[in-house]
Amino acid sequence: MATTERYVGSSVPRKEDAELVTGRGRYTDDMAIPGMLWMAVVRSPFGHARVKSVDVSKALGMDGVVAAFAGGDFDWAGPLLMAWPVTSDINNPPHFPLAKDKARYAGDGVAVVVAESRAAAVDAAESVHVDYEPLPAVVDMEAALAEGAPIVHDEFGTNRCYVWTNTNGDVDKVFAEAPVIVKERYRVQRQVPNAIEPRAILVEPNNATGQFTMWSSTQIPHVLRTAMALATGIPESKLRIVAPRVGGGFGSKLQVYPEEALALELSRRLGRPIKWTETRSEGYLATHHGRDQIQEMELAADEDGRIRGFRAKVLANMGAYLRIIAPGTPVLGAFLYCGAYTGEAYQIELTGVFTNTTPVDAYRGAGRPEATNAIERAIDALARRVGKDPVEIRRMNFMPPFTEATQSIGGLMIDSGNYPATLDKALELADYEQLRKEQQARRASGDVKQLGIGFSTYLENCGWGPSRIIGGVLQYAGGGWEAATIRCHPTGKVVVITGATPHGQGSETAFAQIAADELGVPIDDVEVLFGDTDVSPNGWDTYGSRGAAVGSPAVAMAARKVVAKARKIAAHELEVSEEDLTYESGRFTVKGAPDRAKTVPEIAFSAWTAHNLPDEVEPGLEESAFFDPGNLVFPYGAHICAVEVDTETGEVEVVKYVAVDDVGTIINPQLVEGQVVGGVVQGIAEALYEEAVYDENGQLVTSNMSNYAIPAAPEVPSIATGSHVTPSTTNDLGIKGVGETGTIASPPAVLNAVVDALSPLGVTEIERPATPENVWKAIRRAKGGAA
């Protein structure tokens, strides 16, 4: 049974695929239970309105309708969990599943109906009569902070949610003395995450025992269980939450949603299974959005471009309510406004702002794409100012290579890094010299289609996270460790049970690779279970690129505990001391007598029968481990983008994209490449196409997939990838995490390329996203014409 093949480091095809390519994967909406009822939520059509009365009587009289309730009909045990109060004086409005007095965004739930079919529920929801008194809405953050603005939460008398600051070094002195100051303003537009699977929920009550099972399209069954207990008073011990196959999340399913609490509460009240699946248009209003910042970024530098200080002032849109980690999302990027560069002083001020818009929370990268946008675009502005090439300005400001944890000016203790190495490799892959020659030729000939080259030499922090740090200085209410259990069955087959909750990343395969290597068994003998709170150990689920970086070390630790116990049993059976055994690839061998050996599967059988165990050894071969990292992990890399910009129409085409990343030790190159490419393309979409637009009344104008521009295959380029490995010092596997690097890195690379293409025309700035309209306007502005 033992094998000498190593799985870690090779592109093992995914264990997940067999059911997913055949249509046998089970997502929440694929399930039905006898007696099941459908829920529909009545949502405010206004961005801001007083709810004067709700009349459900007409709905209740409709055929097939079982129940209908307004917000005031519920008495919750507590509000929906908001886990990250970033400052002690944060304005934190309790958020309940349905609004009672006031609807604060278009889509805010005000009533709920339950019926025998989805059609009947939807028909009935439309018959609920809500008497609204429309109020002026505020959607723009600067307008929301101005005197006399409509107030989203009246009790605070302001739309300011919090102000969070961090300073290192003498910022005022550095900025007063520096000969060069670059000051830029960027708007990081709002995005709709758009996991292709809409959210879905199914709750089944057990009316005899008071137990409930909830299937939900969620990234966080464990966190959700505790949050549901807090909201409904149903104890965690009577609540089972299952995330079956989940069709992507990107942060949008890292949430505790009103509909989850409503479905659970209604199943308790009615004693019937309750189902809810959002329509995509409904999801555009009801599923949280991402990004949405206004940034003022300043660099203080010497005349040659050496950076001395970083100063950022950021407004971050919270939307109408604070969702689970909304206030902390900008904080995740707050240490990265210096990127991978050195300096003497650093200051950041984050201001959270309430507006009459769908709540904003984590979206792939969460805070770090915003920070990377600011520093990577500002350093290009500095390069233009001091007349340096974007490569040269980066090289002269990089932190020098290091293999032991090193302090950054932003306040991070970074695990390891070699920033010039990824840049060198990316330049080679992109054939930079040739690109510049081509650019010169087009500039010389006055080509309508100009070529631009953009860089993003990003640094990020992920692998959420060290519990003591995130609960200490960062004020996060939760922890960041991860758990794993490994059970060896009598015949030698292995089950790995993780507290992480993968939803497309391929972690099932990655965890199996690690366990198979540690235990020396074929990967087909390893099954990975997850996503069911009754099956998996308590854990912290999957987000923030933590699956590989925090989940994998827990799997390896549990496996090593199994091996340690197996060693005791093997020594006993072979009648030697433990020290006389060598262990390799699942096989314990007596030193000097290689034919005397026991394999892990053999020991698993012995441990099961327990006929002949050492006195101090308990039966069974099953071990659990909890891994709480001592630090975050810090992937980085160099991305180079070449674009063609049509100077007459403003159309942008990405013609070359190179991504060289250091994500530490690579478990599975194919999975890593998949994460990088998918993330980069999502970031290209952010740079060029996607924007959630509200009108001044709080109506979401980009309200579904037909008017929000998600690119399809013809719009996006092929991505060339490369890697450089400096093992992380945070975990002994050396893993850094890869889920978010692409969306963090790519938007500024694309935008810098667009500005570079147009710089001969005098363009120095471009609005995000760089749609043909925004590019055309930038060209007009530069020419001195009215945009």
Partner: protein, 201 residues
């Protein structure tokens, strides 16, 4: 929304005051899903369709979309629903051998016709070459768009057995994926085309 659901949503909310600007773009206009005969509801219509080689008869509401007929009446949940605007293509199936978005057809429009879904692509325990290629080339992550992608590819490779990368990308313009950046989907379909034309030769 009217065009999609075949029905005008009658709104019970009070209209906003005349002096209050109105935008209806994002008003809550849910698509209709999941039908169950209601008293006084529309007359049911009997249809006969051949699904994955099996003749099926059923009584359906005239307003029921084909995708819900497949998922909820026949229990073929491999075909997914990702939007309500015919944008994402997760619901792509073959109708008389050609790919269609099954959210954009009524079940009654399939009467007398032949439908193939993802469940019928693997035969005798063997993956279809397109399925195999998606597996080998990491052409999927969360898997939600995958059945639609595979069905779209199956129809396309019938028309064009030896496509270029550009042609594959163009053929997929009606199918959205949020995970892969399309690169490995395109690679998978090109690999499948070689495998399939090799097998025929």
């Amino acid at each position: 929304m009217t065009a999609l659901t075949g029905r005008t949503i009658t709104r019970a909310w009070p209209r906003p005051r005349a002096d209050f600007p109105v935008c209806t773009a994002s008003d809550y206009t849910p698509a209709l899903q999941t039908f169950r005969p209601q008293k006084g509801g529309p007359t049911l219509k009997r249809i006969e369709v051949t699904v994955n080689g099996v003749r099926r008869e059923a009584e359906v509401e005239p307003r029921q979309l084909l995708v819900y007929f497949l998922r909820e009446t026949l229990g073929l949940t491999g075909t997914n629903v990702g939007c309500d605007t015919t944008s994402c293509g997760a619901c792509t199936v073959l109708l008389d051998g050609e790919s269609v978005k099954s959210c954009n057809l009524l079940a009654v429009q399939a009467d007398g016709r032949e439908i193939t879904t993802i469940e019928a692509m693997a035969t005798d325990g063997q993956l279809h070459p397109i399925q195999q290629a998606f597996h080998e080339n990491h052409g999927l992550q969360c898997g939600y768009c995958t059945p639609g992608m595979i069905m779209a590819a199956a129809s396309f490779l019938e028309e064009n057995p030896s496509p270029t990368e550009e042609e594959v990308r163009m053929a997929l313009e009606g199918n959205l994926c949020r995970c892969t950046g399309y690169q490995n989907i395109v690679k998978s379909i090109l690999a499948a085309s070689q495998q399939m034309s090799g097998a025929k030769a």
